[in-house]
Symmetry: C2
Subunit: 400 residues, 2 copies
């Protein structure tokens, strides 16, 4: 039998993959499992997007331009202009989800062996994309105690070497819900300019900023035109994850032209998803207000209720729809598995994402879990009750 590749063996499995069979087993036993572990919102896709698909009237589902439909790119540019981001349509490459935009960014800004600094905990697939493109992730740890604020610039500066080519930020952040302030962003801008680094900013949760906090894009940082790469996606903004449409945006022409060659190699982003995406640009304001109010209500409920549980700490997220909580347990992964395998409260249980998988530094986050508040409030209430009751009896709890 031929050997498979070592790099394939080294690819990290999804951090919840180990738990999936336990969740399936629990369901087979007839238990209700509340999924707080995934970023698949239950929010409806805008009607304008669904209608555009239903009214598709071409005879052939053709390739689009490798950079995406020109009409869609022009629409995207208008959208960015409308929120104060100065971008032309020919500075946008439509991609197969934000995922592909990230791969393009790593392949074009970095050679293999180069280093990218990423505040941890971070979206676990950054690790997969870094492995795929053979770049080294250099983590900087952010702290649950201050709501996972961007670490001090001095911490970044300590990590910079000859091989450092870029800093990757997710703003607002999956998995922490942190939203970086203008002050924080200008500080890393200065650092990027000082050391000639790219800042790759994953801003797919841009629309989800709460309490009057304003989102500042990397593309809005003065003087960063040649250093900024924006990663975007329609998945969360319009709750249309299945369209697999994102984009890679930069004003750096050389970088754009390099990314374009990767785009040409895979011919075209998905056409039907682009049609949904283009129509979504006309989503009425009322849709976002409704979604926004729903997430605010969910967040406020879940944060308050979790913090009332003895030994649980949940920072107040300023954006996205995630938060990382610390739990009074020795090992959150074991606790999450136990919830699915052994525990139920009134025949209900909960699936959480153990947070260790979001850290690059071994040993961190072992008593933390990520919560996605993507369920209706009534379900969230039941889920929090399960967590509360379970911690009273969990054998591995640290508070006796």
């Amino acid at each position: 039998m031929p050997n498979i590749s070592e790099r394939g063996k080294m690819m990290p499995p999804s951090p919840i993959r180990k738990l999936v069979p336990y969740a399936e087993e629990a369901k087979k036993k007839g238990r209700i499992v509340y999924h707080l572990n995934i970023g698949q919102p239950d929010i409806k896709t805008p009607e304008v997007a669904l209608n555009a698909i239903r009214q598709y009237d071409e005879k052939v589902i053709e390739y689009s331009h490798s950079a995406g439909l020109e009409s869609y790119r022009r629409g995207l540019a208008q959208y960015y202009q409308s929120i104060g981001i100065d971008v032309n349509y020919d500075e946008i490459i439509v991609t197969t989800g934000g995922s592909e935009a990230l791969v393009f960014a790593l392949m074009t800004t970095m050679n293999k062996g180069d280093e990218i600094i990423i505040p941890e905990p971070f979206y676990t697939n950054y690790n997969s994309f870094a492995l795929l493109s053979e770049v080294k992730v250099v983590p900087i740890t952010s702290d649950i105690k201050n709501g996972f604020a961007l670490p001090e610039v001095a911490e970044f500066e300590k990590k910079i070497t000859d091989r450092t080519k870029a800093i990757l930020v997710c703003n607002p952040s999956n998995p922490t819900g942190a939203l970086y302030s203008q002050e924080e962003l200008y500080k890393i801008r200065d650092l990027a300019l000082k050391y000639n680094l790219f800042i790759i900013a994953d801003e797919v949760y841009r629309e989800f900023c709460y309490d009057g906090h304003k989102h500042l894009s990397v593309m809005q940082l003065e003087g960063m035109q040649q250093n900024a790469v924006l990663i975007d996606s329609t998945s969360k903004r319009y709750s249309e994850c299945g369209t697999r449409i994102g984009c890679f945006v930069t004003k750096n022409k050389e970088l754009l032209s390099s990314a374009m060659k990767y785009a040409q190699a895979r011919l075209s982003p998905p056409l039907l998803g682009q049609i949904a995406g283009e129509a979504s640009l006309n989503t009425p304001k009322s849709y976002f207000e409704e979604v926004y109010n729903e997430y605010i209500a969910r967040r406020d409920y879940v944060v308050e209720a979790l913090n009332k549980i003895e030994g649980v700490f949940c920072p107040m997220p300023k954006g996205a729809f995630y938060t990382i909580i610390s739990l009074p347990v020795e090992n959150a992964e074991e606790y999450c598995q136990w919830l699915l395998e052994e525990y139920h409260y009134n025949n209900q249980t909960v699936m959480l994402a153990p947070a260790a998988g979001f850290y690059s530094t071994k040993g961190l986050g072992v008593n933390q879990a990520r919560i996605a508040y993507v369920l209706k409030i009534d379900d969230l209430k039941n889920a929090v009750k399960v967590i509360e009751e379970s911690l009273k009896v969990y054998p591995g709890r640290t508070i006796k």
Copy 2:
């Protein structure tokens, strides 16, 4: 300004990219340009696929399973069974086009620096995917004189080193239209087994085999269960290139589980494309008969007409809808550019794909061009007339 990556700079541009601006210029001058350069068929997508999209009635366009919708994978397995390929649904990973399946195959079968043997001329993006995954392409030249038949096994064997991990075949072949015989395939099977190699077979043109020739899949070669990887796509079979749906198929469980980690990293293949793909499985036989007859007629016309032109040689393709022709010119790329930039016949001209870009060995194919016979016969007639007349006056012709 930060430096972009060297690997990005090294990525080959599309072989027709240089010609695109000339084609656009020609159109601006009001000329009709017949596109024989691209594989975008004008054939209609099956009604069943278009209707499935139009009848989409879910409220949320969600992620699918990372391996694709289970119902679609079960349908695909049935399709494969029906054509004599023994595959279960859980041996299939639905991908974003055949392109992604190829990347998964290279990443999982080979480490960086490993070698893959590919008969040339080959689909030019194999080069891009090899660069992306840092594997070395070792070409074996096939010959226009015998219709680009698979080279002798002894030629393959000469190229095998310690780093050789796989052989990649495209069958039927884009860009040559060659279809490999049972005898040829069994010979490279024996070689693969002898040296413990994978055979990665790109079979996306499986349905396009002419003159009673039967397609044999790599999955049907006895004893190859652990060594075979099938790359497939719905793009050409159902003329739905824009759906971006393909698949990665293997019975090698270790390889499958490795590929699955790459699939999880990008979350999900496009949902809407999968819905079109699943519905396409019910395409009536009459559709394929019509398409088949249309391509046969186009092929027969174009091959006969081209061979009548003095100095042109066009082998008879047995499959797909491409052929590579040799031209009585010193440099086909210059000729192709001249056709767009300077020549017209009754205000019409032609865009061809210079074939040098399909060879990995420098200096080969310089007097060859690839033709995709994806246009209606009337257009093909006009296009051939342009080629015929142009060669009478082209300054760089070799036959005076």
